[in-house]
Subunit: 306 residues, 4 copies
């Protein structure tokens, strides 16, 4: 069932009372300064229509949502075996930035959506791409059909200044032989990917390929095969929401990926891609009102993968 | 797409070469003695038809598949809040019988499908049911429309004689105040549930309610609400395959639950329930050929939740 | 330098202000009820003299100090290789009752002074002694030359009623094949050992053999060889104070063993055995004022092993 | 009892058959190339005499033995409270280079003799010393009365090229706010300390202050107070031998510190300092024949701290 603009608006009204009950990410000033009352949602339906409500056109820092984009690029540049020899496909059962499991499992990250896994993916892109940051920008601009998408340099620089834990993760993987390039340039790229500024509308458009068997909006040729698209959705369903993937599946029932900027993208395969934004996070690091909005949407349109 | 009997037969032929490459569970003699060449599959389609191939009518020890049945009974007897205060909904990222995470997380098991979680569920049933073993038998006989389903006493007794680790898990939860009854009678029930003998046909029929919004085969009244059925499928998708849930989602793309007896049940919501059986296991403890058969089935009928 | 009774008295006065700053063990009522102001010290010097101050003649629950006695009995009944194949000699770096390390190290406890290790030792005694509780009583009465030493049945029973975590530990070791007997009778013995009631004077006398190359007070024949006595002191120095062994060595500099009843025994090899008692514990579970008293004693008589 | 040169020679003969049963450290080529048959011992007695046998005058890479020197310098430059707020005093119960415990304990290393702890100490020296490498060289040359002691640049450079894990440790501590300086210069200093080349004779002389209440050989003024010297010996006894401290105390019974170059220093407080060298290591990373030599020495001269 295609949601109407009114339905999206009603959902935002219903979840707005949650604002004030979460916590805006504050580990870097550039994120802490985002007004906590921002709230937006956009749906890209399989007939090409974009439905939106609230602050759906305002760009924000997509943060870890970028991990899906970098993995998609890696899937274009590497054979499946090459990727999955260096990173797993299982939920971590631990915090997204923990080194404990990484050491116990010999430097092989559990999945590509925790920091360690996304750093390995960034390392892979660094090896095979000549200008990874430029390439990512072109990729996402094309997907979202928006040539104005850019990196937030203030955010990227700020992340780099608070990069000690991610540096520790990268060096630990290097120690296990699972990191090919110098740490600093890969970290720099990684933080740029995280610092992409996109709106809900941009995101809903950009991730439509996951709802459309690998084919992006506008009829361009597939960027992933049908099978790859299905596989990526499977990874999102089991590993996309940090250590809250089970709860998200239970409540929302869609493959999804969240970022600490308060954005979440979700997919109803074959039907639509969705993006929500509300900066305050729950204890697992996922947007509090954003998750609630997706839960209401799933219930009201009667759509989930279960 | 409804699979034909011929399709199922072909799939079994295609995966049969895997036999010999896994390992039959051998921690109790009663399981180790099962011939490794057994191979069966059954589908219960939403028009009521049962399609089958191979050893689909031969009963085997369902083992951890019973954890779905006991959770279903708990969902009938307890409010959601009561259940989820005592057990989580997240993948564990660890072996199914580990005590490490259980101690670190203060006696609250990660999900109801690892041993600790299923023991908590069994403890809950013990508190509110007068004859839990008899009740389970009636429940599963009705679901599968087979009055001959019974417990394999030899397996149940043998499990009890090798129960030290599960006893340790139960006592640790008692120490954290998350276990209400005496350990021995709850363990006894738990091992009986695991010792249920059912065929692929029995299992496909019994779990049809998960493909049918909570309504069992034969039009009886719903045993779970539509929402509960969706939630249970979500839990199976993220936590149902031990520490191999991500890989299973990636390859098969259906909610499922495996047992060390070599059985796996899987669900295409709205369409069909499936059961496979092949006793040899992969390193994660899931049926090797059974998983491969489900992967082929998913590909050939073009059905998955992603 | 032999401490005088006055010196001991002065030390108690100096540490008495610490009372109120620790926490009496309260996991069983029988321990929680002990008045927190109790404070005693006794020294057994190598000329046979007993010097004492404060509540040195009042019996209290020795708790984990008994782990040294049971290990001593095991060293009499088993060859060294037999013991150290089942329990390690290394500090644990973890809480005394944790199961995490025990599972990671395959059921082999780190040392005989954490609960898991003492349970293995109790299991060993159960295998080779016909009446372990009676035997322990005779042993300790002879060592302390006090036929009135007995078990506090209220404490032993209360421990048994709160034994879930220790049961979990024992069952986990059974699961790894490192526990030979039924869990309940071994736990019963173990809790009786812990429930021995002894005074500081009893303890100083009883452990004089560790200061005297294995020979107990009163010239009886050695209960350990000179080498065994040295080895046992080494184990106490590295593992005797739970996860506070390093701090105790740094401040006191003597091999020692504490119990949650607030007692600590310590040894200056070749010269004296010491016992202190003050029920309030520090966060590591060691007597707060007791440790301070030993630190002062070490400084004022200029004696430590370093 | 002062050991004779003949006694030392006999001991080396007795342990020489162990050569071939251990494993020379091979994580950097410069260490892997050391001939495995090297074997030396030196004692610095409290009358000033140096007794030696075997390859006692040949310099080797002291590696982690340098951690005692850097801690001694930190004890001269910082108040006790300043040091022990940033590093603990407890045995780790884990591998010397693990990040698991470090993350669980919020970036506070367990003790100054595991890598993380020594890196914190190096960071402290970097903050308060203007030329830390030069200062260390002067310090150790004076202690050993040997102006020819120097850094092995090949070793230091090679360590730096294999420094990923130590970099990970340092960055993780920085992430927890327990590292003040840039990582690279501190690592550079740390690896230089490890790359000090000293002979057994140099080491026995250099560490005589630990046997002499803080006063170095030759009657110079104390470098540590009597209390500090006692405290440092206590730390060595509980934490000096990686995860083999308990075993070393049990067998040898002296405070000591080992390095992966195959050296071990040990102390009989008040009487003598000892250094042994044999490059092959046991599984804990301590010199196999070196430990055995110290065990024999302890037994034959009847000296230990227990």
């Amino acid at each position: 069932m295609k949601p109407s603009s009114q339905l999206l608006s009603d959902i935002l009204d219903d979840v707005r009372p949650l604002i004030g009950k979460g916590k805006v990410a504050d580990y870097i000033p550039a994120l802490a300064d985002v007004p906590n009352h921002k709230l937006g949602i956009a749906v890209c339906y399989n007939d090409g229509e974009i439905i939106r409500a609230g602050d759906a056109d305002e760009a924000f820092s997509i943060q870890s949502i970028s991990k899906v984009l970098s993995l998609t690029l890696a899937m274009q540049n590497y054979k499946a075996d090459e990727i999955w020899a260096r990173v797993g496909k299982e939920p971590s059962g631990q915090a997204f930035n923990s080194l404990i499991q990484l050491e116990m499992e010999q430097g092989i990250p559990r999945n590509p959506f925790i920091n360690a896994g996304a750093l390995v993916v960034s390392d892979m892109l660094h090896t095979r791409q000549s200008a990874p940051r430029q390439r990512m920008l072109e990729f996402v601009r094309a997907l979202a059909a928006n040539p104005h998408i850019c990196y937030d340099k203030v955010v990227a620089d700020s992340e780099m200044q608070h990069s000690d834990r991610n540096a520790a993760i990268a060096y630990l993987m290097r120690a296990f032989g699972n990191f090919e390039n110098e740490v600093v340039p890969v970290l720099t790229n990684y933080f740029h990917y995280c610092a992409l500024k996109m709106s809900c509308v941009d995101l809903a458009k950009a991730f439509f390929y996951l709802a459309n068997q690998g084919k992006p909006l506008g009829g361009a040729r597939a960027i992933l095969t049908k099978t790859q698209s299905k596989q990526l959705n499977a990874l999102l369903a089991t590993c996309g929401l940090y250590d809250g993937a089970g709860e998200f599946a239970y409540r929302v029932g869609m493959p999804g990926k969240s970022g600490v900027g308060g954005g979440i993208i979700a997919v109803v395969p074959g039907e639509m891609s969705i993006a929500v934004w509300s900066p305050e996070l729950d204890p697992s690091g996922n947007s509090l009102a954003g998750t609630a909005a997706l839960e209401l949407l799933s219930a009201r349109i009667g759509r989930s993968i279960f």
